[in-house]
Chain length 262, copies 2
């Protein structure tokens, strides 16, 4: 069951490179919990979680974690609560855990959904998404070139989400079905509008990445009911999976804004 929790931490001063240190803290906790799993996840090309510092104020730091692996959340929270009294290191600063917010009432970016509810999400023909932290797509090209695309192109948004769905969902599409869906989405999706689009250059681990934040509305043309169903799934899934690259370093935090059922 995909989960999103928000950890409320207090400490003396927020360290620089918060995304990197949050990433480090998460893996340190994971190692305590299951060192073999931590090693495995560290090298996994697609990680079943996202980690996003939500900013801080007056010594309080909010850290959002989402988990796409059913097996991961409760042992992780167990380890977190065991370790927390000794202090949670983020860079040079030791933080105290104040609360774990796990419902939308506790924090609007927390929540959960079952894989079955996702799979059965209502079909939609229009999607509105807000990209709350810088979001970027890694576009590989022939000859080992890596290019970054910091623009909300509908085909890149939904290709990223479909790949994350295929990687983590217990109900993936058959490969040939996923390929056909991608083709339909590529042909039939259109950006109907955007708002507050801003460009950022952010440090992630050892590199700098371009990224955008803002809100987009995307329309699905045509009458492919399977594509409409997939769009409904993926827009809900985006809240847990994030969009694009480096979502374990705080990038790509995405919130669906509204839906229009077909």
């Amino acid at each position: 069951m995909p989960y999103a929790v928000v950890l409320e931490l207090v400490g003396e001063k927020p360290p620089p490179y918060l995304g990197k240190h949050a990433h480090g803290l998460f893996f340190a906790l994971l190692s305590q919990m299951d060192s073999e799993l931590a090693t495995r996840l560290h090298v996994a090309p697609r990680k079943p979680f996202t980690i996003t510092p939500l900013g801080e104020g007056q010594g309080t730091l909010l850290l959002r974690l989402t988990m796409l692996d059913d097996e991961l959340l409760s042992p992780f929270l167990h380890t977190l609560l065991q370790i927390a009294p000794k202090g949670l290191p983020l860079g040079d600063t030791s933080y105290r855990l104040v609360r774990v917010l796990s419902t939308p009432e506790g924090h609007p970016l927390a929540g959960r959904v079952s894989w079955e509810a996702l799979r059965d999400a209502p079909s939609v023909t229009e999607v509105a998404l807000a990209f709350r932290t810088p979001t970027v797509f890694t576009t590989s090209k022939p000859g080992g070139r890596t290019r970054y695309t910091p623009l909300p192109e509908p085909r890149l948004i939904f290709r990223s989400l479909l790949e994350k769905w295929q990687a983590h969902s217990p109900y993936p599409y058959a490969p040939e079905e996923a390929a056909a869906l991608l083709e339909v989405l590529e042909l039939e999706l259109e950006l109907s509008s955007f708002r507050r689009l801003r460009f950022f250059r952010v440090q992630v681990a050892r590199g700098f990445f371009p990224g955008f934040t803002g809100e987009v509305q995307v329309k699905l043309h045509g009458d492919c009911t399977e594509a409409q169903r997939t769009l409904g799934i993926l827009q809900t899934y985006a809240f847990y999976a994030g969009v694009g690259a480096k979502t374990t370093y705080g990038l790509g935090l995405t919130v669906p804004l509204s839906t229009k059922s077909s």
Copy 2:
């Protein structure tokens, strides 16, 4: 020789649908000058001119025209000056021509350049462009679908400019060379940043089109000197040719901001 002139007009009140009426006025003048040419250009898929109302204030209206056809400008201006004393109709309003501004000193959006100077423009590896009026790309898809992309994707910007170069320049690339260049540009161009990106929905003739305005910086990777040369040409050409669709209705007015020679 590509030319940009700005007409300063005065009239009682600016009509709605200025882009449409400016388009109509231009073709009316063209018909007076050479009705056969006007008919031919009206149906031409790629028109060797752009028409952009630059906004108005206190009864004054600025109308920018660019011409990519060497044969077009002087007979057109001749006709304009002949007709102008009788009044120039824009919608229901008759406008008077006050001045024709044809140099950058007269108006920063006026100027000219020879095809030879364009062809020999310095190579660049970085380009900064400002999209001053809503800009959109028409992306055709299989099955007769027409999609609009209101985002400054480097490959769409430079594909549009290269196609306009091929259509109007007396020094086009050989078709196979143009295809090879497009491929390199597609692989090696990357959006390095954007600023002030805004979304618009604008009425053009009978339809509404999405579009963006804003500033972008684009980087050319790799070391293909021919691509660097082409980029230098196209960024200068953008000032005269405009970018994307509906440039004869005021869309896609584009100004190069700076260059970095390679």
